[in-house]
Symmetry: C2
Subunit: 223 residues, 2 copies
C-alpha cells in the first residue's frame, strides 16, 4: 500500500476553476458512460494505481474511507462471478413478457467477458476509522461513502479515456462468499474497467430504446 500521492501541499493556494474548465467538466459528466463493450487490451497498471490514489480523496463519512478493493483476476474467480451474473440475469429476464422480454434478451448489460480489469467493491461496515462520527443514525452512510468514491473513480477514469461499467445484476451474498473477504465487508458493486470500444454521449439503454432520459428527477419540491 502506498500513501495517496495526489494531496496538494497543505499550504497550497486554492486552485482556480475557470469557465473553460467548468465547461470541460460538464462534458466529462455528459460523456461518462456505463461501458459494457471493452477492448481486450491491457490497462497500464500505473493508470489504475493513479486512479486508486485519486479515489482516496473521495468524500467519506467521518473520513472513514470504508471502501475495500478486490481485484478479480484469476480465470477461476471470473468464471464464478460471471456464472453468478448469468444466473441472476436469467431470473431477471423472466420478469418480462412479450416484446419487452425479447428486447431484454438483446441488451448487453455487462462487459465481464472482455474487461481486462475487474473489481469488487466492498464497504467495511466495522471500520473503526472515523470513530463512528456521522453514522449512528444512518449507518448506511458508510455504504454511501463507497458509492461516492466509485463515482469519483468513474469520472477520473473517463478523463483518462478508460471505461467503467457497474454490474449490479449479481447475488451479493454469493459474490461475497466466493471472494472470501472479511465477514464485516458488505458487497457494494462490481466494476469492469478497460478501454471502451466506442464513445457515446447517450446511454446504451437510451440507444437501444429501453429507457429514455426523462425529467422525472429534475423537479424540486419546496418545503
Amino acid at each position: 500500500m502506498t500513501e495517496p500521492r495526489n494531496n496538494a501541499p497543505l499550504n497550497a493556494e486554492p486552485p482556480v476553476f475557470d469557465a473553460a474548465f467548468q465547461q470541460k467538466f460538464a462534458e466529462l459528466i455528459a460523456w461518462r458512460r456505463d461501458v459494457r463493450r471493452f477492448r481486450p487490451d491491457a490497462v497500464d497498471p500505473a493508470l489504475i494505481e493513479h486512479l486508486l490514489d485519486l479515489a482516496q480523496l473521495a468524500p467519506s463519512v467521518g473520513n472513514s474511507q470504508p471502501w475495500r478493493w478486490v481485484s478479480v483476476d484469476s480465470a477461476a474467480m471470473r468464471v464464478k462471478i460471471r456464472e453468478n451474473f448469468i444466473r441472476c440475469n436469467e431470473s431477471a429476464a423472466s420478469a418480462y413478457q412479450g416484446e419487452r422480454a425479447a428486447q431484454y434478451a438483446q441488451l448487453k448489460l455487462e462487459g465481464m467477458d472482455v474487461a481486462p480489469r475487474q473489481f469488487a467493491l466492498f464497504c467495511d461496515r466495522a471500520t473503526p476509522q472515523g470513530l463512528g462520527v456521522g453514522r449512528q443514525t444512518m449507518p448506511e452512510a458508510l455504504d454511501y461513502s463507497v458509492v461516492a468514491m466509485i463515482e469519483t473513480f468513474w469520472l477520473a477514469a473517463r478523463a483518462l479515456g478508460l471505461g467503467v461499467g457497474w454490474v449490479s445484476i449479481l447475488d451479493p451474498e454469493a459474490a461475497t462468499a466466493a471472494l472470501e473477504v472479511p465477514a464485516e465487508w458488505k458487497f457494494i458493486a462490481y466494476l469492469c474497467v478497460g478501454w471502451p470500444v466506442e464513445e457515446h454521449v447517450d446511454p446504451e439503454l437510451v440507444r437501444f430504446n429501453w429507457q429514455n432520459r426523462t425529467s422525472v428527477g429534475r423537479g424540486v419540491l419546496y418545503r
Copy 2:
C-alpha cells in the same frame, strides 16, 4: 421542470480530455470539501438550476434517475430539521468519553445555521423508470444511484466555487415525516449548499485532529 440542457448533441465528436484537464480535475477532487462554514450570501438560482441539469447526467441503475430533490426553504421547516440534527447529535456525543467527548463537542459537523440553500435528497424506491433493470437482486442500487448523483453535483458545485456539506446526523424517519414526501421515497441525504467561508485541501476532521487520512482503503486484495 425543464429538460436537461447539458446533453451534448448526439452526433457530437467525443471531447478530448488532455493532460492539463486531467491535472485540473485531480485538483478538483483534492479540493472538494464537506463544507460546514458558509457565508450567508444568496446563491444565484441560475447556478443551482445549472447544477441540477448537470446532475441529471449522473449514472443511475437502468437509467432510472431515482433522485428526488426537496428544497428546504421555510424557516419553520429548517427549525424542524435542525432540531432533528441537534437531538441526534446529542445522542451521538454521549457515545464518547473523556477527551474524545470534549473534542467531539468542539467539532462543527454541519452548516444548517447559515447555508442559504438546503436540500433533502430522496430515492424513489417505487419508480417505474428503468423497468426494474439491474435492481432485482440489489434493490439498493437505486439508493446508490442517488449517491452517485450527489457526488456528481458536489464536484460540479465545487468547480463553480460553491460548497456542499452532507449532513448524516439525522433521524431519517423523522426527517421524512416532517418533509411530507410520498411514502415510497427513502431519505438518503441532507445537503447544505452555499459560498464557503474558506477553502482547504485538508478535510476539517483532519485539521481538527479527529481522524487523519490513512491508507486503509488504498490496499487491494487479489482473487
